[in-house]
Structures are given as structure tokens and as C-alpha cells.
């Protein structure tokens, strides 16, 4: 028996810092979301200011709520619970603060660069390469601090919450590094190493698992810590939590391709994604039930305690979202839901309900304890709960209605066999009232956050902050050499490194099985002889398309449905995207698909449409892009960009960028200017609009009219 009792201190300062950051960034991120929501029914809401158009602030909103709000909330909860579960102060105070300030700087970096249009365009991975490098360094600091604390722990066993933290730390590293493989073409411009189908698979393998391992696993760990703490009773079934953990980390990683159903991604990968998504219901619901059943015999507390109220709602929302997710991954359901607002509603059930409510519950739990006092107003917290609940319902219900309506209207044929709503605009105008209702729901939700911020502020004022909490525990005995072989379990729990290796293997299996064949296929992608690299002017136009975030509303992937081929033209093929670094398939349609928009309208139409979308398309919700008509095209960037594209495999001739490219650019620009002149529009050839028109007019034209080989030849 070890009687060597040690006294030590838990670091509360770092927890408080992350708590403040969570509230502040939560408000910022949600307000940006509200602005984005407003722009969908009031396209002039950006006041013709290019830095806050929907295309640019949508990624800002998603990054802010995922990495700033939930990210800080995650660190807050982990830094509090890890110390107490390990009975040890964090491994290094320096690393703790490096993690904190580094993370805040990255958020500020994102808040500056995304509105400026510096983006990779890959969803939830939009930040350009210097910020991505910084992110990797800060994340590494967090991981070292996490493992260092685990190594110096005084508690022999690693509680299941720590398993979730470890899985988060290693998997996010793997995902971030793999998906961030880009070729820089300047300080804030880069091109994905992967192209087309491969890029899409890697991106959605990342995107889906960002949801899994950033928004889910750390929060499940936090649920397994804070729910028993708040209810003051052990988790319902520890055995179930073990199964929950291993099944979840093993299955989750396979499900990414469900974001690409009916796309040009090979069918086997789509089916794999769908089947594993369905299997995910089991561990997800196991976890939800484990959480809810922990409250058996304590439901009376739920009536009074806002902390438990928020937790119960959070866990229930987790259950709802993780049932709906697999259903959306069923190909038939997905054929209706994909590209519609249904996905947005689904995401917000998870974000507002699961992440939001669990974060609020942790804040209501932590702040009174850190300040050695009681919550200033339980009544106000209860108001917050009901306002947030109403806000969530007012948010998601209209968007569900909008999503299903969009999906049905896009697919509707009249008795004569023609599209009932051939003009895409009809379908979007029809759901604009739902967008308005959604904004009301969002406003309510944010109002609740303000109530919470005030309540927590008053709580902090009423109490006295305890920077360090004194604690005592017996030092961990150095394990005596075990005779014979140690048991598997002893190995697993006693050695964090061994545990980590196993967790990494569990997550890598799925990733490798899906991604490796996709690389092998690289030489077998059914190439289409007529598909050629983009011209210099088109490359710059494509970069403008990326800068403006056009893919936030316009897809470039026509699915093989009659309703889509009737509307947009022939379905998209893998071979069409071999020079697309990055792929720009998009995941949302607030406007029509653009995969075959080339040649559909005259150049002058595009010019007028960008100047004022409502002049060509009455009722359009697209913002004006008048600055494209006046801003000069940055053609100085061309050599670096063409060279970078060549390095990632686009076959531009050697030295093309240092001579012929500029000449080709001039020739093509002059042609477009001449076309515009025919439409009574005078513009200089060096304006951004010329490059964008060049790119849009190119889309889908490579295979138009030409017989297309659809199999490997």
C-alpha cells in the first residue's frame, strides 16, 4: 500500500481563459452565422461590401463555431477534467498557455484571411497553408501536454474520457496533415496536391471526421466526465462506454464517402461509406443511452438544475443527429437531401443541440466552481435553456421544410415528362420565407447566449476566483516487474503509448482501405482525351471563383438522375476533374449547378449578372459582385500559380509561365472583351470579370459534343 500522499495544485487559470474565449468566440461565430442567414433572404445585407459576402463569411461562420466556439469549449473541458482524472496538474503550464494563445491567434488569422478571400475552398479546411502550419504546431503542443499529463498521472487507470481525448488528439493530427497537403503558390495561395475524385475523397474523409473527431469524440469524453459529476453518480454502464469508444472510433473513419453519394466517386467507395454510416447508429445510440441512463433515479434533479437540463437536451440532440446522419447516408434518402438545406438542418441539430448545449452546461457547471460561489441566477439559466431550445426548433424546422421542398421541387416532372420547375430560381424563391424564419430561430439562440454571458459574468463578480485548486493523491507506485507476461488489459491501461497505437490502428484501417485503392486508381481513372488543363486566364478566373466562395452556393457535380441531366446536361464523370486542384464540387445549391454552364449564356450575360444578378435573374438571392468589374486582375501571380500547378501534376509545358502564358492570357482576354463589346459593354481586358467569364465559359465544354469514353481504355 502506498502511503506517499502528495499535495499538488490544479491549474484553473487556463480553464477560465478557455471559458472566456468560448463565450466570446461563440457570440462572434453565431453573429456571423446570423449575418450569413440574413444574406440569404436579403442579398444586399453585405452592403455591397466584398469582404462580407455570403461566399466569404460562410466559411468564417463554420470555422468560428467549429474551431473557435467548440474548439475553445473542448479545451476548457479537457483542461479541467484531465487534471482531475489524472490527479495531476497539466504537464506544462507553458504548453497550456502556448495552446491557448496560439489557438486564439489562429482564430484571429482566420477571421482576417477568410473575408479577404484567402481560402483553399476545402470545407472546414479553408485556412491557407501558413495558418495550417501554425495550427499543426499548436495542436502538437496540446497533444504533448495531454500525453505528458497522462504519463505523470497519479491515478493508475485511464478513465474512458481520456480515451476519447487521446483519440481526438491523434486522429485530428492525421486528418489535418493528410488533407492539408498543398503546393504553395505564394504566401496565401496554394493548390491541393490531389485532384478531382481523389481530392474529393480525401476532403470528405477529412470533413466527415472533423465532425467525428473534433465535434464528437472530445465532447463524448466530456459527457462521460461532466454528466456523472453533475448528477453525482457513476456512469450507467462502464462496460458500455468501453464498447461505445472502440466501436465509434473504428466505424466513424469509414463513413466519409457518404458526402459524395451519386457523385463521380467510384460506387464501391460510396457503398462502403453508406454501410458504415448505418452501423454507426449502434455505438452512437449506445453512448446516448449510457448518458441518459446515468440519470436514472436523478430525474428530479433535471427539473431544477440547468446544468443537467442542458446536458439531457445535448445528449438527446446527439441521439437525434446520429440517427438522422446514417439515414441521410442511405443513397435513396441522400438523392433527395443532398445539396439541399436538409443537410444544414441536420448539422445544426448537432451543432446547436449537441455541441452548443453541452458547452453551455459545462460553462454553468464550471464558472461557479472556479469562482467558489453559486450561479448568480438559476432562473436566468432556465430562461436561457428554453430560449435556446425554442431558438433551435425555430432554426431547424423551417430549414427541414426548406430542404425537403427544394429536393422535391428539383425532382418534380409534369405529366408531359418535362421538369415542373425548369428555372432553378423558382425553387429557391419558394423557400425564402423559410430562410427568414430560420434567422428568427438563430436570433433567439444568440439571445440565450447573451443571457448566459451576463449570468456568468455576474457569477464571477459575486465570487472569488481560485487560480489553483489544492488536491491530494497518492503517488503512483512504480509498477514492480511483473513475473511472466503482463495481461493485455494491464498493458492497455498502463501504457498510454500502447493504447494510443491501438487507437491509431483502429482509425487508420478504415482510412487506408478507402484511400489506398483511390490512389491505385489514379493511373486508371477513365481519362477523357478532350479534357485539357485550364488556360492561364481560366486559372486566374478559377482562383477568383475560389476567392469569392462561389462553391458555397453552386455545385459542379451533376448527379446521374434524369431530373439533373434534364436541368444541367450530361452527368459528371471522374475524368473531367483530373486537372481540378482543388476539386470544386461543392455541397450546397443555393443556385444552379455550374458544371456545364460554359457556353450556356453569352459573355455579356455573365457580365451583367455579376454586376447585378437581379437584372438577368429577377428574384435571385445572389449578391452583387460589382467589384469584379473594376478590380484589376493580379496577373503577376500567374507564373507562381502555373508553376505550382505543374508541380502537382498539371501538364503545362516547361517554362510555359515565363512567356507564352502571358501571351495566351492576352489573346483570350481580348476575345472576351470583343464579345462583350458586341453586347454593348466596354471593359478593359485586365479586369477580374474577364478572367471569371473565361473560367465560367470553359466549364463543361471539354466534353460537350464529343463522344466520351466512360470506361478505362
Amino acid at each position: 500500500m502506498n502511503t506517499n500522499i502528495e499535495t499538488f495544485k490544479y491549474d484553473n487559470r487556463i480553464v477560465r481563459a478557455f471559458a472566456i474565449a468560448t463565450v466570446v468566440w461563440g457570440i462572434v461565430g453565431m453573429l456571423v452565422g446570423l449575418l450569413a442567414a440574413a444574406e440569404l433572404f436579403f442579398p444586399g445585407a453585405n452592403l455591397n461590401f466584398q469582404f462580407i459576402t455570403f461566399g466569404r463569411i460562410r466559411p468564417l461562420h463554420t470555422n468560428a463555431v467549429i474551431f473557435a466556439f467548440v474548439g475553445n469549449g473542448m479545451f476548457m473541458g479537457i483542461y479541467y477534467s484531465l487534471q482531475r482524472l489524472c490527479k495531476a496538474r497539466m504537464f506544462s503550464d507553458f504548453l497550456s498557455w502556448f495552446n491557448f494563445w496560439g489557438w486564439q491567434l489562429i482564430i484571429v488569422g482566420a477571421a482576417v484571411t477568410l473575408p479577404l478571400g484567402f481560402t483553399t475552398s476545402k470545407e472546414y479546411a479553408e485556412l491557407e497553408w501558413p495558418i495550417k502550419v501554425a495550427l499543426a504546431i499548436v495542436w502538437l503542443a496540446f497533444a504533448v501536454n495531454l500525453f505528458g499529463t497522462i504519463v505523470k498521472r497519479r491515478e493508475k487507470h485511464m478513465y474512458v474520457a481520456i480515451w476519447f481525448y487521446i483519440a481526438t488528439a491523434v486522429t485530428v493530427t492525421v486528418l489535418h496533415v493528410t488533407n492539408s497537403m498543398t503546393m504553395p503558390a505564394g504566401w496565401f495561395k496554394s493548390y491541393s496536391m490531389y485532384a478531382g475524385v481523389q481530392d474529393a475523397l480525401v476532403q470528405w474523409w477529412y470533413g466527415h471526421n472533423a465532425v467525428a473527431f473534433f465535434l464528437t469524440t472530445p465532447y463524448l469524453g466530456l459527457m462521460y466526465y461532466f454528466l456523472p459529476k453533475a448528477a453525482n453518480r457513476p456512469v450507467y454502464s462502464y462496460r458500455l462506454s468501453i464498447i461505445h469508444f472502440w466501436a465509434l472510433v473504428f466505424l466513424y473513419i469509414w463513413a466519409g464517402p457518404h458526402h459524395l453519394l451519386y457523385s463521380a466517386l467510384p460506387d464501391w467507395a460510396q457503398s462502403l461509406g453508406m454501410v458504415f454510416s448505418l452501423m454507426l447508429i449502434a455505438p452512437s445510440w449506445g453512448g446516448m443511452l449510457n448518458g441518459l441512463l446515468t440519470l436514472r433515479g436523478a430525474w428530479d434533479k433535471v427539473r431544477q438544475d440547468p446544468v443537467l437540463k442542458f446536458m439531457v437536451a445535448a445528449v438527446t440532440a446527439y441521439g437525434m443527429a446520429t440517427l438522422e446522419g446514417p439515414l441521410l447516408a442511405v443513397k435513396t434518402v441522400n438523392s433527395l437531401s443532398h445539396y439541399t438545406d436538409w443537410t444544414i438542418a441536420h448539422v445544426h441539430t448537432g451543432a446547436l443541440g449537441w455541441n452548443g448545449f453541452l458547452t453551455f452546461s459545462m460553462l454553468y457547471y464550471l464558472i461557479p466552481r472556479l469562482y467558489k460561489t453559486q450561479l448568480w441566477s438559476t432562473k436566468l439559466a432556465n430562461y436561457h435553456f428554453w430560449i435556446a431550445m425554442l431558438g433551435m426548433i425555430f432554426y431547424v424546422v423551417p430549414i427541414y421544410v426548406a430542404g425537403i421542398t427544394e429536393g422535391l421541387m428539383w425532382k418534380q416532372f409534369n405529366p408531359d415528362g418535362f421538369l415542373q420547375y425548369p428555372n432553378f430560381l423558382e425553387t429557391i424563391v419558394h423557400v425564402v420565407p423559410m430562410f427568414e424564419l430560420r434567422a428568427i430561430g438563430g436570433t433567439l439562440y444568440i439571445a440565450g447566449v447573451f443571457l448566459m454571458a451576463y449570468n456568468l459574468y455576474r457569477t464571477a463578480q459575486a465570487g472569488q476566483f481560485e487560480p489553483d485548486t489544492e488536491a491530494q493523491a497518492a503517488a503512483l507506485e512504480k509498477t514492480a516487474p511483473v513475473r511472466g507476461r503482463p495481461s493485455f488489459h494491464r498493458l492497455l491501461e498502463g501504457k498510454p503509448l500502447f493504447f494510443t497505437v491501438l487507437a491509431v490502428v483502429a482509425i487508420l484501417v478504415g482510412g487506408l482501405v478507402e484511400v489506398i485503392p483511390m490512389y491505385l486508381i489514379k493511373s486508371n481513372v477513365p481519362t477523357i482525351a478532350s479534357v485539357k488543363p485550364y488556360s492561364p486566364l481560366e486559372v486566374l478566373g478559377r482562383d477568383l471563383y475560389i476567392r469569392e466562395g462561389c462553391l458555397g452556393c453552386h455545385s459542379q457535380m451533376i448527379r446521374p438522375f434524369r431530373s439533373e441531366t434534364e436541368r444541367y446536361g450530361d452527368y459528371s464523370k471522374a475524368g473531367e476533374y483530373v486537372y481540378d486542384h482543388p476539386f470544386l464540387w461543392g455541397s450546397e445549391r443555393k443556385g444552379p449547378d455550374l458544371a456545364r454552364v460554359g457556353g450556356k449564356y453569352p459573355d455579356a450575360w455573365h457580365f451583367n449578372h455579376m454586376d447585378d444578378p437581379r437584372s438577368t435573374s429577377p428574384g435571385s438571392i445572389m449578391p452583387q459582385y460589382s467589384w469584379l468589374l473594376t478590380q484589376r486582375l493580379d496577373r503577376d501571380a500567374l507564373p507562381a500559380r502555373l508553376a505550382a500547378l505543374r508541380r502537382v501534376g498539371v501538364p503545362y509545358p516547361a517554362d510555359y509561365e515565363n512567356g507564352p502564358a502571358q501571351k495566351d492570357l492576352d489573346t483570350q482576354a481580348a476575345k472576351i472583351v470583343a464579345n462583350l463589346k458586341q453586347g454593348s459593354i466596354n471593359t478593359a481586358p485586365d479586369r477580374e470579370i474577364v478572367a471569371l467569364i473565361a473560367y465560367l465559359q470553359r466549364l463543361g465544354t471539354d466534353i460537350k459534343g464529343a463522344p466520351v469514353a466512360t470506361a478505362a481504355q
Binding site: V160, N232, I242, W246, F250, P368, L375, T469, E470, A712
Partner: protein
């Protein structure tokens, strides 16, 4: 199209078999492991978060603890 692409790869058939083997082995091992845990161990682990080792537990100051 996809079948042709996949079938064109040498030895790709083994991929599916390996996948299903890994899958079954993983779940069988995990379930076996979870269900051979002793009840007193599970009970002890479940209670782990409830003891934070704090000398003066902050919960004294919280209405729930009263």
C-alpha cells in the same frame, strides 16, 4: 465502370476479404474484452470521476451538493 476499374487492379479481391476479417476480428476481440471485465473493476472505473482528489471540493459551494 467502377467494377472494371477495381477488377483491373492486381489482387484487389483480397482487399474485401482483408477488410471483413479485420472488421470481424476487431469486434469479436473488443466485445470479448469488454465482457470479461470484472464487475468490481467496472464499478471502480465508473466512480473515478467522482473523486477529484480536491482537498476542499468546490461542490460544497454548489447547491447540488447540499
Amino acid at each position: 465502370m467502377e467494377e472494371k476499374v477495381i477488377c483491373g487492379l492486381d489482387g484487389v479481391g483480397i482487399y474485401g476479404i482483408i477488410s471483413i476479417c479485420i472488421f470481424v476480428a476487431f469486434f469479436a476481440g473488443m466485445l470479448l474484452w469488454a465482457f470479461t471485465k470484472k464487475p468490481n473493476y467496472l464499478d471502480k472505473m465508473g466512480r473515478l470521476p467522482l473523486d477529484s482528489g480536491e482537498k476542499d471540493p468546490a461542490d460544497h459551494h454548489h447547491p447540488d451538493a447540499l
